[in-house]
């Protein structure tokens, strides 16, 4: 029913835009990662593998990447542990308060990321709200220093930020479970625990995978929370990239790290999609 001209009109502009502003930049990132910087700090368009051999050779990059992945893994774990039971409660037990509770989960998403990270900083600092409260009620005599400027603070803050992101797909997948499947399971004599483990959980796996991917990937690439709350022991891989594009001025090396991150993220997305297909209910 749609003419060729119509189809060209809806296809060509977005296609051209995406080619110019998404595909070309990624391709440039790829090119940069094989270039180098001259001693007078100019980018030299000379193709070589020096950036990658530096990445492979220096342990600081491996350690920081591993630390970032470990932080992201903990964030993912805690976000799922908080979000799944909450989504289950809303979907199966909240009754008429379901809509209200759903809105309550969404609202924090509208509070600026930066502002929430900042709020945690004011809570966790050595003269922050938590420490002064603890001293006020005489639980501690001196401020607890480990609260702020530690990986703990980064994990806590990122968990706070990404829990609603993990919640949304899990809740959607629980809501889509046909309720008669649960009745059937109960009618056939399954206990509530069996119904959960053998019917509800497997059917919600795609939602869990989507939520986990969101939490893991977005916290892996974060560079603001580590600066605000992480201290020297909470530095993540993106912080290295930021410094390479800033003060350290080595764009090609920064591009090489970014490209590795991009490949890591894309392969994770691919893996999640494969797993989701395997678990999806049809």
């Amino acid at each position: 029913m749609f003419s060729r001209a119509y189809r060209a009109a809806i296809t060509i502009p977005p296609l051209a835009w995406v080619a110019l502003f998404l595909l070309t930049p990624y391709a440039l990132m790829f090119c940069y990662s094989f270039w180098s910087v001259s001693p007078d700090q100019n980018v030299v368009h000379q193709w070589n593998l020096a950036n990658y051999s530096e990445l492979a050779g220096k342990s600081v990059y491996h350690e920081t990447l591993l630390r970032s992945m470990w932080i992201a893994a903990r964030v993912t774990f805690f976000a799922l542990a908080l979000a799944y039971p909450l989504a289950y409660y809303l979907s199966f037990r909240a009754g008429t308060r379901k809509e209200l509770f759903y809105q309550l989960v969404i609202i924090p998403l509208w509070v600026s990321y930066l502002v929430r990270a900042y709020a945690w900083k004011t809570i966790l600092g050595s003269d922050g709200v938590l420490n002064t409260l603890l001293q006020y009620v005489h639980v501690t005599k001196h401020p607890l220093e480990f609260l702020l400027y530690s990986p703990f603070a980064v994990v806590l803050t990122l968990t706070h930020i990404y829990t609603p992101f993990a919640f949304l797909p899990i809740y959607a997948s629980l809501e889509h479970i046909p309720r008669n499947l649960i009745e059937a399971s109960q009618d056939l004599g399954a206990s509530p625990a069996q119904t959960f483990w053998r019917v509800i959980l497997p059917l919600s796996i795609p939602g869990v995978l989507a939520g986990a991917t969101f939490a893991f990937v977005l916290s892996l690439g974060d560079f603001l929370a580590p600066v605000l709350l992480g201290g020297p022991s909470g530095i993540m891989i993106s912080n290295i990239v930021v410094s390479l594009f800033g003060a350290a001025y080595n764009w090609p090396l920064g591009a090489a790290i970014s490209l590795c991150m991009l490949l890591l993220v894309v392969s994770l997305l691919f893996l999640a999609e494969r797993l989701e297909k395997k678990w999806s209910f049809s």
């Binding site: 900083k121 993106s238 970014s258």
Partner: protein, 276 residues
Amino acid sequence: MPPRRIRTDSRWLTFHAFFVFAFLYLPILVLIVYSFNGQGVGGFPPRNLTLDWYRTLFADGAIWDSVLNSLLVAFAAMLISLALGIPAALALDRAQFPGKALFRRLVLLPLILPGIITGLSLLMLFRQADMKLSLATIVLGHGTALISVATTEVFAGLQKLDRAQEEASLDLGATYWQTFWRITVPNLRLSIIGAALLIFTLSMDEIAVSFFLIGRDNTLPLEIWGRLRRGITPEINAISTIIFLFSIIAIVLWYRLRTRTDGRTEIAAELVESKA
């Protein structure tokens, strides 16, 4: 099944839900309370409640300049994302072309990609094209990244659209252009308004992409970021509290709009069913 078991389950789940809500809202509550605290950020209990920080805030020209910049950027980014996201959704829905699967993935990628990658790759593009960084480069960055939001929202709307109306319009002699503006867009208006609101708020809060594309003029998040690095004052709490209130108003408005219209479509659907 034994009823007692369910009660313990429910009690545990209720307690967990309460705990998660406390975790989600505690920092926001602290933020708001300390915007009135005369003693500065932190320190328990809050003392000398005051509106001074709001007075400082309203007299602070740099903050309001950045608010204006953010509003401009968000509005322009919204126009770009919609202008490309609506056709992109239409193309995914009703056109066949080579590389369609790749196109879909590329459009949606910035939604899940850490902002640093989108920001840096565009920075390299602008450097290569010798473009000076300014609010315009931020607009291009946000516009490009948020096409993903417009596309997903409008594509979802298209799945519910009754194509017979467009067909009828074309059969009755309307051009594609007329059909688009008089049939397609009005039918998709809910998805489009939803996408526009979402893009606007996401752009207002965006920092990772803007961080790399910033010129001389700051957006609000970058202005706040700069101040956080210099030391923290409750002025930040005050501006955050105000933004939070505006967000709540926006959500309530959007929610009312949606339930009203959804209600109408539901009633219509029921009428059709009862007649069939």
